[in-house]
Symmetry: C2
DNA sequence: AATAGCAATGTAAGCGCATACAATTCTTGC
DNA sequence: GCAAGAATTGTATGCGCTTACATTGCTATT
């Protein structure tokens, strides 16, 4: 950390007390204009930079928000965090991030670090966390919220969407189109409530339509094109006419694999994604997918956290709606596909 | 911030002084084992969580790294930051990020905030910054490094690659294939030295081959598929046989636009990208592109920054090599394209 | 058995800031 | 021109921690 001038240097230079300097710094309105001006000049001349840690120690607030996410190598988290940071800063808060790599034990360690660091508010992703995480958070009085999921009986405030419910529209759409044998390329469900709920929601809705989802019609894979591309042939063995993918990246892999196999997409095989990445609209065939308001969610998380911190109340929950975007991978197109 | 137990609570409970508690906390080896154990028990019983801001204030170190990036909505930055965070944490440092939205004035404000916050090290992207940024940084003695670019006469240490030089291989490849009229879909160069250098490098290398790059063969656009798709037709008016794109996302847009126009990619129109996003290999046609070691760069930035902080020396620079990956958008393929 | 020498622990002084409270200066009404 | 009150500024304490230095307890050497 740099050796810089301190408040008392400024005070001395401006011929006032440190209290007055502090008041100028914090925009108190009980400083006479000429004095304020003098202090501000002294600050500028000395290149004075206030010390946040001293300030945090004195005020017991850090004006810092923490976010612990599984990865940034996923566009949806990256976009959400981008929006979260912007909104946080507009409110005068700084963002600290950490990556858990989808590991609950790592996440616990990170939560502890965030608490040490003294964040005023903390965001986690999803509702599946180590018990100790909940214990720590509840004991600490640091505001927290779980994003990307919404569940009325979640143990923590939620700002997100209903991952299970989101799949209903997808299933309904495919069933409407006459599909009876439907397979799933799910994300890896272990320790991931979003992936789990999407699979559960799919199964539930299929049952609601009187359709079965046999074990061999479900494959769990990493969120990567390569993994999806490799997995599709296995799924095709169970003779499905439609594949529901855990997200858009998986859907891309499925599309490429289907093309490799010489299938006509939507005619021979319908494919759906999740997230509505910007590519999904542009690709040919364009991807039928579920739109998720990642940026909105991110900024809402920041704003609700700050609201909660400043009003000294628990974070308000917020449910976002998702919507199905029907595109070429399910309803065919005029474009020729291999 | 939470009201938690303090070091002196622990000291009292364990029947020792706060100094001993502090020593246990910092792993000093001059505490007797039985005393250490007693203190650790007291910590656990009281759910003691050390206060980082007090610690920072006392030690004059924050064990925090800052990163100011243009956006997270770009996979390459997201991946780099992901790696940076992981490496930083392995070294015991926390990452604070801020988004500048490619705006130098915002960036200046963020640098100032980072300095207030007391980061021990700071990463910026590229070598184009507000003069005041350099002044502040040099005055502050906070270690800093500029990533994603490498230039021997840069005013700051650099950990990145030579954006201009990287284009030489692209141009050489296209010229080798016989292309004479080459167009460029560049990123927006204003305030972006990476985009500028890629364009400059392209022009230089074309000249080296005796080829001209007329104004109407260059279009600057945002890094988005949509913008690229919209811009390609304009470029085609100048009758180019190859298009060099500022990054892979732009290349995707160009590919889609070419397909829309009924062109045979690589035969009628060659296209190149930059970044080697994971999609680029999978897409048909696959994208000829420049591979950038984003994750390596991110972790190197973290490690070099921490090295510099802990050794009290300037950050060492590091030059990464890029390499051309020749794929279907330039050398044709057995796949049929529309 | 006395003591030098070291190991383990305690004491106390800040780190830079905010803020309660005290002291001072300025208004205003008369 | 004076007092009461408002406006402004100063004084001094403490936030929770680290650490230089002082002190105590122990071991080993003679």
């Amino acid at each position: 950390m740099a050796k810089t001038s301190t408040q008392s240097d400024v005070a001395q230079r401006a011929g006032v007390s440190t209290a007055t300097v502090s008041r100028v710094l914090n925009g108190s309105n009980l400083v006479r204009d000429d004095v304020r001006k003098r202090v501000e000049e002294a600050m500028a001349e000395l290149n004075y930079i206030p010390d946040e840690s001293a300030r945090s120690l004195a005020t017991r607030k850090s004006r810092t928000l923490g976010a612990i996410i599984p990865t940034l190598n996923n566009a949806i988290f990256a976009v959400g965090i981008n929006a979260l940071e912007q909104a946080a800063r507009e409110r005068g808060y700084t963002l600290v991030i950490s990556i858990s790599n989808y590991d609950p034990d790592s996440e616990l360690m990170l939560v502890r670090q965030m608490l040490e660091r003294g964040v005023d508010g903390l965001m986690l992703v999803g509702n599946h966390h180590h018990d100790e995480v909940y214990r720590l958070l509840n004991a600490s009085a640091v505001r927290h919220v779980c994003g990307w999921s919404h569940n009325n009986n979640a143990p923590s405030p939620n700002i997100g969407f209903d991952n299970a419910r989101a799949m209903h529209a997808v299933v309904d759409h495919l069933v409407d189109l006459g599909h009876q044998k439907i397979g799933v390329l799910a994300g890896i469900c272990q320790n991931n409530d979003r992936a789990t709920l999407r699979l559960d929601g799919t199964r539930q809705r299929l049952e609601h339509h009187g359709l079965d989802l046999p074990k061999q019609s479900i494959i769990q894979i990493a969120y990567s094109i390569r993994a999806a591309r490799a997995a599709l042939p296995d799924l095709l063995k169970s003779d499905v006419s439609a594949v529901i993918c855990g997200n858009d990246v998986i859907a891309y892999g499925a599309v490429f694999a289907a093309q490799d196999a010489g299938l006509r997409i939507s005619e021979n095989l319908a494919i759906t994604g999740f997230d509505n990445l910007s590519l999904s609209k542009e690709l040919r065939p364009s991807i039928t997918t579920v739109n998720v308001p990642a940026a909105d969610m991110g900024s809402t998380i920041a704003n609700y956290l700050v609201d909660a911190i400043e009003s000294n109340q628990p974070v308000a929950s917020c449910k976002f709606e998702t919507d199905l975007l029907v595109r070429e991978t399910t309803i065919g197109s005029t474009h020729k596909m291999i």
